[in-house]
């Protein structure tokens, strides 16, 4: 990549959800805790992890669909949120998001639930155009909608139909057209292909790649399927129980991962190649993911980690750079084989 300009950056992002209780007994779901990363312009950053690890929350908090409980979000050099609680921050900043909504969009996971069943496809795509007053007149609005639909492989006659008339793959295309309608720079793709059949997944993944090269988009691609994330991303971040545990170039991460969780995650993925599958050794993790209501002290992965010791229980491992562009949070990187 020629220009290495940071488009989006989050610093020490934290998102705790209130889970009831009063005073001393107040409890929080620690969905995202102290997550920092940046995304360069034109790049795709993948975010993987198991369900409940906070990857979707990270994506939504980044767009301020949820108000963060702590941290800082910077978009294109402008601070769009600052909790005021970080050591280097001066005051609380929370800018009006409307102008940024034009630049930052999201594609949701479930194409069956994210389209209003009572609106036509044309209106769904056109809604954002209306809100941001992008169309000069009705004809311009219509033309924009049609060109967006064509861009995602649908045609003009689809504009007057309703979501129930479409298949899952087509609906996801509508979701993408809606996000593209305002000519955004940055799109959070929240598990955009998980609900689709295998043969349709490839169509949508290819479309994301084409749109990126045509329109110069930047993606945050969230998915639980590492094979797909590896395919589409330049860099990948791995999350576990609200923490970012490893972040590296996608090739580096899949072949030279250093964090014990990433390693077991990779080895647990069934490979669609019988010979390789017979040879490969699985690192099967014991137990389940602990509850984010009451995460383990120190390193959150320690309850399932084969390398865990006392240090892991009392100290939170620092998220540090282990080699150029490769970050990981673990006390025992030297022991992990």
């Amino acid at each position: 990549m020629s220009e290495q300009k940071k488009l989006v950056e989050v610093q020490h992002l934290q998102q705790y959800f209130n889970a009831g209780g009063f005073g001393k007994n107040r409890r929080y779901v620690q969905a995202v805790d102290d997550v920092s990363f940046f995304i360069n312009k034109g790049e795709t950053l993948g975010l993987v992890g198991e369900s409940g690890c906070g990857k979707t929350t990270t994506g939504r908090t980044l767009l301020r669909l949820y108000e963060p409980t702590d941290g800082r979000i910077i978009y294109d050099g402008n601070v769009i949120y600052d909790s005021g609680k970080l050591p280097d921050s001066e005051k609380k900043i929370a800018v009006d998001m409307l102008p940024y909504r034009r630049k930052m969009q999201i594609v949701f996971q479930d194409p069956y639930a994210s389209l209003d069943p009572r609106m036509t496809i044309g209106d769904i795509v056109g809604e954002a155009i209306d809100i941001h007053k992008l169309a000069a007149n009705d004809k311009d609005r219509h033309d924009r909608i049609i060109s967006m639909l064509q861009r995602v492989g649908l045609n003009s006659e689809h504009a007057n139909r309703y979501p129930h008339e479409f298949s899952g793959g087509q609906r996801q295309r509508v979701g993408i057209a809606r996000a593209l309608a305002v000519n955004p720079e940055f799109i959070v793709c929240d598990e955009p292909v998980s609900a689709l059949d295998v043969s349709i997944q490839a169509q949508v993944v290819n479309m994301f790649e084409d749109l990126q090269s045509e329109m110069g988009l930047t993606y945050l691609f969230i998915a639980h399927d590492l094979s797909i994330v590896k395919h589409i991303s330049n860099r990948i971040g791995v999350m576990y129980l609200g923490k970012l545990v490893e972040l590296a170039d996608s090739y580096e991460l899949t072949f030279h991962s250093v964090h014990p969780y990433t390693r077991s995650l990779i080895s647990a993925i069934p490979i669609a190649d019988p010979k390789a599958a017979r040879e490969s050794k699985r690192i099967v993790l014991e137990g389940d993911v602990p509850s984010p209501l009451n995460p383990p002290s120190g390193c959150r992965f320690r309850t399932r980690c084969p390398y865990a010791d006392e240090q892991c229980a009392c100290e939170v491992p620092e998220f540090k750079e282990v080699s150029s562009g490769h970050w990981a949070a673990c006390h025992h990187l030297d022991r992990v084989k």
Binding site: S199, I200, V205, N206, I269, P270, D273
Partner: protein, 334 residues
């Protein structure tokens, strides 16, 4: 043919809905030996689950078996009554469903649900059944079985619930275990645990498994034979190696090409299968895959291709292979 555990010939099954007849299964034939692990792969709506359900008599109204012979362990399944089915289910054939969150009864304890199964099919009294339930939980790797037996499904995690489902399914040591997308609802690390457990139990108990999934990775590591289904038909059948390294049907090839491979070093563009799955209410006259097939010929749209045997274990249904065979004999194709 006594060594065959399961032998299905030309099974046809339709759902008679208000909108018309949905041909869910259209001339499905395959057989399984004792102890084999068969994977059935295909997209949603391809008929993979229906094939398995019909064996257990679980395709209720408006589903109707309209033809074919189904032989399972000496039973003529197509002629069985509900009473006979009830006896067979659980004892000789068992099933694990996709979603462990909804397939356990929320108002009964885990113990209750396992004991029910044991007492229904054996003469054990309550105490013995309870002991058996404990044994089963140990078998599927649940620690503190005593305590777990008293818990309700909502107190367990997804992976645990799926283990309980497996325990219930194995209560009477069935000959055939049907696993209908057993790990789709689970996370990868939990999926690895469950798959490992299933393979271990299979070794221990010597049962056969039909693994229904859309994940080619799961079948590659678990199964010996694979049936690829599309629109209610088995389009290709073979050993795992034959399907992965020598796929002959265009759909199988498409499926394998359309998934990104984690162990691949170079980045390649995915080759998707264009178009969308067929509407089974009015399927095309010829090969169901023809409208999406890159090498579609005239005949594909008119007529269903006959079966081509490629080896003892490998067969497919595609006109391209018929054409190759025909040309090989010195003929000229259309």
């Amino acid at each position: 043919m006594s060594d065959l555990l399961l032998d299905i010939k030309n099974e046809r099954l339709s759902f008679f809905t208000p909108a018309g007849e949905v041909k869910a299964l259209n001339n499905v034939s395959f057989s399984m030996k004792q102890g084999e692990v068969l994977g059935i792969v295909g997209e949603s709506g391809s008929g993979k689950s229906v094939t398995a359900y019909s064996l257990m008599g679980l395709t209720a109204y408006p589903g109707k078996l309209i033809g074919g012979e189904l032989r399972f362990n000496g039973h003529e399944v197509e002629k069985m009554t509900e009473k006979e089915f009830r006896k067979m289910r659980g004892e000789e054939i068992s099933i694990i469903f996709q979603d462990p969150m909804t397939s356990l009864n929320p108002v009964y304890t885990i113990g209750n649900q396992i004991v029910e199964m044991v007492r229904l099919h054996t003469n054990k009294d309550k105490k013995e059944a309870y002991a058996r339930a404990k044994e089963l939980l140990e078998l599927v790797g649940i620690n503190e079985p005593e305590r777990r037996l008293k818990q309700y499904p909502h107190e367990l995690s997804g992976g645990m619930r799926q283990r309980v489902m497996i325990a219930i399914a194995l209560a009477c040591e069935p000959k055939l275990l049907i696993a209908d997308e057993p790990t789709t609802a689970l996370d990868v690390t939990i999926q690895a645990q469950i798959l490992e457990l299933m393979m271990e139990l299979r070794k221990k108990l010597g049962m056969s498994i039909i693994m229904i999934t859309h994940d080619l990775g799961v079948v590659a590591s678990m199964c010996e034979k694979i049936a690829v289904m599309y629109a209610g038909k088995i389009v290709e059948y073979g050993t795992t190696d034959e399907i992965f390294y020598n796929p002959k049907h265009e759909y199988t090839k498409g499926l394998i090409n359309s998934i990104p491979k984690l162990n691949q070093k170079e980045k390649e563009r995915l080759v998707p299968i264009e178009g969308s799955p067929v509407d089974l209410l009015n399927p095309p006259a010829g090969c169901p895959f023809a409208p999406r097939c890159k090498s579609c010929m005239k005949i594909c749209l008119r007529q269903m291709p006959p079966r081509t045997d490629l080896s003892d274990t490998h067969y497919t249904q595609c006109w391209l292979l018929q054409k190759a065979e025909f040309e090989g004999k010195g003929g000229k194709a259309e």
